[in-house]
Symmetry: C2
Subunit: 225 residues, 2 copies
DNA sequence: GAAAAGAATTAGACATGGCTAAATTTATAA
DNA sequence: TTATAAATTTAGCCATGTCTAATTCTTTTC
């Protein structure tokens, strides 16, 4: 029906669309998937011919109503697999991404539904990313504030961390930071460094501001902006 | 490293080599994989260039010492997945083959080892086919007598059934025949029909001789030949 | 608002894994 | 043993997904 590569493009467009709100530009997609822009252009032609995307030359691309559920299905597969690998097969959360990225294209919906059942229909994956339901509902996926948005003194709960950088994940894990961890923001240095104090007694953790911007949080005190 | 398609060729050569003992002919491989002979020829050139097979034009092909472990690894993946799908994800044994046939190329060795651990290092898959160990040992894989070799009156235990025909598997399952089932051979009709009486009280089951030849057995009485 | 810079597309090439049709080698039979 | 049949390989084409280089839009900037 659809090649694994085409599925990857649809998944990428979906993610970028949700980040940037609106049409996704060729250059952004090329960077994200790590191919040349010309490769993206020719793929967009194929995908729009088959009505998975609405593509306007020089203007960018967005998913059609046909494309969205396909992207969501792949994302569901990916996140269920990540959950399964950590919970049932004793994988470390830093190593699940690559395995899931391959398998997501090859498991059947039945396989996905069965592991969802085994896991008790989990709502999020090990990095805190919401798992679309079997009927591809993602209404619970509000993506609010970021760690970088807070002030010194705020107490916040970690909600999501990015899943693609194993080194970062190992670092966070070593310092006891996971979705659910409550941390105090103890310092925000002017040169772009945020220091946290997790409530697990492991001592303070410093993060570059760029990383702090990629971590989603939930305020526990009122001073967030 | 090696494409899923190339892996399929190596797996096919391994299986055919074990059935026919010796070089595998182009035509046989083409039939097995379901491509044209010319396609096989060109693939054999590529595989022999990379030293996975020893290929002699017009004479056939066989796996090299480099090719064998790759084939065994894929077979290990396939059979572990089949076992996993039936035992842990409630698949019917008639539907595991296709899912395993896709996934076998995409799971890592780590994934395979983890599910093997979960399953308690099983020796055979749901159809009775032996699962190579993690160090690719298949010494337990003696393939002895077939159901078609027996005489009326023999009592035999089913050891392996072919895994590729879902209809046959559903039929056997419906009549309570699995690896391990003990059956009496009650009739061998001259027009090629074998009738069995399983020890589960479900009444007699008739099988075409061709099917009976594809089922491996273990004698419980002495009259087999 | 014209020129320069930046983005995006087109043109043309390559590798993979298929196919059909033609040529060649091997096997079989008269 | 020679002609015919069968099996196999070669030649040449196609689709997919990628690349580089050249061209054509768009957007800035002066």
């Amino acid at each position: 029906m659809l090649s694994a590569i085409m599925e990857d493009y649809l998944k990428a467009i979906y993610s970028l669309q949700n980040e940037t709100d609106g049409r996704v530009r060729t250059s952004v997609l090329a960077e994200y998937i790590d191919v040349e822009q010309s490769t993206v252009t020719s793929m967009m032609k194929k995908l729009s011919e088959r009505d998975f995307v609405q593509y306007e030359p020089y203007k960018g691309v967005e998913l059609t109503d046909t494309g969205v559920p396909i992207a969501l299905e792949i994302i569901r597969h990916h996140r269920l697999l990540e959950r399964y690998l950590t919970d049932h097969l004793e994988y470390d959360w830093a190593e699940v991404h690559d395995e899931a990225d391959r398998l997501e294209h090859h498991i059947s919906s039945k396989f996905a539904d069965r592991i969802a059942e085994q896991l008790g229909q989990p709502a999020v994956d090990p990095h805190g990313d919401p798992i679309p339901t079997a009927d591809l509902d993602v209404s619970g996926a509000k993506d609010g504030e970021r760690l970088a948005d807070h002030q010194v003194g705020d107490s916040v709960q970690i909600v999501r961390v990015p899943d693609t950088d194993p080194d970062l994940l190992r670092y966070l894990s070593k310092h006891g930071i996971h979705p659910g961890t409550v941390v105090d923001v103890v310092e925000i240095a002017p040169f772009g460094m945020v220091t946290l104090d997790p409530d697990n007694g492991d001592g303070p953790v410093a993060l570059p501001e760029e990383v702090a911007r990629s971590i989603s949080t939930q305020s526990l005190t009122q001073s967030s902006h």
